[in-house]
């Protein structure tokens, strides 16, 4: 992984306040846990039915019945709980998740998120993504700023089918930290060595840049 992506993930880890209940989506969000101290006070939730998700285990230590929603063989912590899928999403929909970190194909300036379907190309199903995006108390996205073809993932409006409306509060990319505000995207932090002008150029929507100096990560 590029250095910038690693710093993005480390920066996103700082978004987790002590005591939060957090669901980390499949892909880059899952790696956020590697940047938390072993005794950090956080409760990780996984959709298939567990709170208090512990570190991923090597195959020889894996319990065949203990996985997260991405299929990784995880472990328990002191105070883990198992439950069925209805209870798991009851937690999500009733607002007991303080934070979820998700991947994205596109994020719109009003916070719309598209991350489940590319018509004609990719439609494996929606899984638990809609409920996480729509109901976690705070939804942040971790994504590369540009897709593989070099197009911005941050757009004025999503072209792809959306996962949930106006749900994203903050976006962590390999170039910047950007908030979704009532006035659209606003630059909050910049990656080391990246200028606000470069971020503007890579963002397919208006971007508010504050007067004050921006922290870097």
């Amino acid at each position: 992984m590029s250095d910038a992506r690693t710093r993005m993930i480390a920066r996103a880890a700082r978004e987790i306040a002590p005591g939060m209940v957090v669901n980390l989506g499949i892909g880059m969000p899952t790696q956020v846990v590697n940047h938390l101290a072993a005794d950090y006070p956080v409760c990780l939730h996984t959709e298939n039915g567990m709170t208090g998700v512990g570190p991923v285990l090597p195959p020889e230590q894996a319990d065949r019945n203990l996985i997260d929603a991405g299929g990784a063989y995880v472990s328990t912590v002191a105070g883990s709980a198992f439950f069925d899928s209805a209870t798991s999403f009851a937690m999500v929909r009733s607002g007991r998740l303080d934070l979820t970190m998700l991947g994205a194909f596109e994020v719109a300036a009003n916070g719309d998120l598209a991350n489940w379907k590319i018509p004609g190309k990719f439609s494996p199903g929606v899984g638990g993504g809609v409920e996480l995006a729509q109901k976690a108390r705070r939804v942040v996205v971790l994504t590369t700023h540009l897709d593989r073809a070099g197009r911005s993932k941050l757009k004025a409006k999503c072209a792809l089918p959306i996962t949930a409306q106006a749900c994203v509060a903050r976006i962590f990319t390999d170039m910047a930290v950007i908030d979704v505000t009532p006035d659209g995207f606003a630059l909050v932090e910049v990656a080391q060595g990246v200028s606000p002008a470069e971020i503007c150029a890579a963002t397919d929507a208006p971007l508010t840049i504050p007067q004050s100096p921006l922290p870097s990560f």
Partner: protein
Amino acid sequence: MKLRDKRCDIAAAVGRIKDGDTVMIGGFGVPGTPFTLIQALVQQDARNLTVIKNDANEPGMGVDHLLRSGQVARLITTHLGLNSHAIGLMNSGAIDVEFNPQGILAERIRAGGSGLGGVLSDIGIGTELAEGKQVVKMQGTTYLVEPALRADVALIHADRADTFGNLTYAATAQNFSPLMAMAAACVIVEAETVVLPGEIAANAVQTAGVFVDHVTQLENLSEEYAVVRR
């Protein structure tokens, strides 16, 4: 990863209840009724409460203390058969009572705790219990809309709690408690025993700690918790 310690003083926890709040109270008869939290709420004296509870306990016990202190404006329940005092208050108009079929009350609370708007049910169709309820037709069948119930606060009795709020219940003391423990903005637990995280096995947890806000330790059990001699 370490789980948050939610231990709290009973008075501080119950102090969060405000005039006009909706309060869910676990228990079916004696088992599961949080007698100590109810007494603390009587002391605290929040008024004009809507109480959601399966039953009203018996005269001079549990929820009846809240009825006697005049704190309850409205009671959403299933059956008051063992509390003639509560029936008297209802008949005199001193409290407003809404009766639900027992399993429908359970489902409405569970729906609230599950972030749903409600459930569709055919229970009570053709009886006066269906009167005034919104109906939905689905593939030619008529269902009643049973709206979700949520509360500002839930008062829950547990057999054991860990400091994160993972709970277990004893025997039939489960009843409405796991449902109410999902359905309130603030969930306050009184536990007979409080242990450290990990002392309740992950597979034995009956209410997951993420639903719980405050864990209080019972010092000793008042006689209200004992076997009722009739």
